[in-house]
Amino acid sequence: MHMLVCGGTGCRASESEKITENLNAELKKLGLENEAQVVVTGCFGFCEKGPIVKIVPDNTFYTQVKPEDCAEIVSEHILKGRKVSRLLYEDPETQKHVEDSKHMGFYQKQIRIALRNCGFIDPENIDEYIARDGYAALGNILTEMSPQQAIDIMKKSGLRGRGGGGFPTGLKWEIASSNKADQKYVVCNADEGDPGAFMDRSILEGDPHSVIEAMAICGYCIGANKGIVYIRAEYPLAIKRLKIAARQARAYGLLGEDVLGTGFSFDIELRYGAGAFVCGEETALIKSMEGLRGEPTVKPPFPAEKGYLGKPTNVNNVETYANVPAIFLKGPEWFASIGTEKSKGTKVFALAGKINNVGLIEVPMGITLREVIFEIGGGIKDGKKFKAVQTGGPSGGCLTEKHLDTPIDFDNLIAAGSMMGSGGMIVMDEDDCMVSVAKFYLEFTVEESCGKCAPCRIGNKRLHEILEKICNGKGTEADIEYLKNLSKVIKDTALCGLGQTSPNPVLSTIEHFLDEYKAHVTERICPAGQCKALKLYTIIPEKCTGCTACTRACPVGAISGEKRQPHIIDVDKCIRCGACYDKCKFTAIHVQ
C-alpha cells in the first residue's frame, strides 16, 4: 500500500511535511512500515481541500488532513481497512462522502498529460520517473531518429505553445534548427507571472524530470547543447526540486557529455528572475538572462534567429515542454486525437476566484466553460450566481454566461475577445463589479510595464486613472468612449505582448457589461455594490431602535442621535466603511 502525501507549495503551507513525518512514525509504531510506504508527491491539483493524502491502490482521497489525523488514518485504514470517513471528500451536491478519487467530479473530466506524474511520483526520486518510462523518449530519439524526424513528429502532434501565444511548437523548433550557428540555446520559460496561475510551478515541483527530458530532446532537434531554465526566485521549492532532478540526471549520465553513449551532450543551468511580469515575454526574458534590464525588443529578429547572446535560441514554456515526452512515447497521432481541430491535446487551467474547487486541472481542448466551472470546479461559492470568468490573466478578457457553452481552445477564446494565456481562470460572481475588475488588472499592468514604449507606459496609466475616476463616481459617458479609443491605440502601437494585450480587460468588460459602466457614470451607482465611493449608507428611521451600537462602531463619528431615538448618518463625514451595517442588529442600515 502506498500513502501519497502532497508535497506541493500549497499543501506544505498547511503542514504536509509534518503529516509525512507523523504517518511514518505511526506506521513504525504499529510495525506496518513494510506494508505501507509513505511517498511525498507533487500537487494533486485539488488545492481547495489540501493537504491531501491519497491511499493507493484503493484511491482513497483524504482531504484537509491535519498532522493529528495521522494516527487515525494508520490505525483505522492501514491496520484495519476502515476508511476514515470524516476526512473523505464530501460531494457538495449530494452531501455524501466520496469513497475514492475515481468518483470525484473534480477528476472525472480531466485528462492528465502534462500533469501525468504530478501527484503520482516522488519528484525527488529519478527512479520513479524512469519507472514510468522517463527518459525513454529521449533515449529512443537519440538512438533511432534524426533531428528532422523528431521535429516532424512534433509538427504532426499539433502541439502549440502553452505560454500564451499558441505558436506551433514543432515549427518553432524547425526554425531554430534551420538557423546555423556554432552555439544554440534551449530556454525554458518558467517565469510564471499571471495573477492566479500556478501550473508551471506545480509541474516543476511535481515532475521536474519531464521538463529536463523535453529540453534535452529539443536540444537534439535544434542542435543545442546548453539549456537554461529561467525561473522566478520566488519559487524556492520548484528551484530546489529542479536542482535535485538535474543532479540526479547528471549522475545517471542523462545530462552531460555523451548521453546514453550516443555522443550527444546536453546540460542545463538555472537563471533566477526577480519576478517581473514582462520577463515572461521571450525577448525581455532573454535580455534579463543576459544581465540587462528586462525590456522587450522588436521582433524580428526572433529569438530562433538571434536570441540569447545573439545566438539562435528556442524558448518554450514549462507546460509545453511537459507535453513533449508523452507525445514521443504515445505517438503524435494519439496526441492529435485529443482536442479540437486547431488546438490539440490538453490544457492545464488554474481555477481561482469564487469557485468551489480552487485548484489545478488538466482538460482536453474543446471542453466547455460550463463543464470546467460547474462540473469540475463544483460551481460558484455559496450558491451565488455566475457572472464572468477572466481567462488569460491581465492580458485576457472576460467571458460571460453566453460563452458558457463555447468550446475552449486558442482560436475560440480569441474570437470571444479573450485569450488562452497561460491558463489562469478567475471566476467572478454577482458581487463582483466589472469596472473594479478591469481596474484591478490595469493596476497590475501599470505596475509591471517596463516603461520602454510610450503607449504602454503612459497609455495604461491613463486607462487606470479613468477607471479610478469612474469607480469614484466622477466619470462621464464620454469617459467610456475615451477608454475604448485609447485601448485601441495602445493595442495597435505597443511594442510587446504586454502592452498589446493589456487593454483587453477594459475592452471586454465594456463590451459585455456596458450597462454596469453606464450605471457608474449616469446613475452613479455600482450595481454590484463594490465601489465604496458609490455606496450611500442611510438609517431607516422605522427600524432604528436607537441602541447606539452604530454610533460606537463608526470610526469617524458620522452617526449621531439621542438614545432610543432614530439616528442619522452624516453623508459628508461617512467614509463608507460599512462598520455600522455590520454592527446593526435590526437591519436598520440601508445601503444603496
Binding site: 484495519k80 511520483i121 538512438t143 540526479q248 549520465g253 546514453l260
Partner: protein
Amino acid sequence: MNKIKSLDDLRKMKQNLENGMNIREKSNSPESLVQIRVAMATCGIASGARAVMNTLIERIEKDKIPAVVTQGGCMGYCYAEPTVEVKVPGKDPVVFGYVDSKVAVDIIEKYVLQGELLEGIIPVNYQTINDKK
C-alpha cells in the same frame, strides 16, 4: 549512482524499477483488474488476515498478475475469518472463507488464473446500497 550507458541499459533499469510503482499504476484503472479485498476487521486480523494479505500481494507481484489487493472492513462473516472477496471484471464478486496462506495461493492460482471455483465459498446473500437502483 552508476551511469546509464545505453538505451538498452535504460530499458533494463525501467523493468527493474517498475515493480515499485506497480501498485500506483494499477490504481489508475482498478476496474479492469481483478480486485481482491481482504477483510481486515479485528476478528479478521486475529485469525491471520494480515499474513493472508501479504501472501496474496507477494504472489501477485511475483508473476505480475493483473490484480490489486485492498483492505476492507468487517464483512460480517466473523465465523469464517479470514475472509477474502474476489471480484473478476465482468463477474459477480465471490467471497472465500477460512482463508489461510495456502488457500490464498489457491485463490490466485486456481480461481483468478484458471477460473476454477474452490471450496469454502460463502454464498453472497446481501445487497449493498450501491446495488439498489
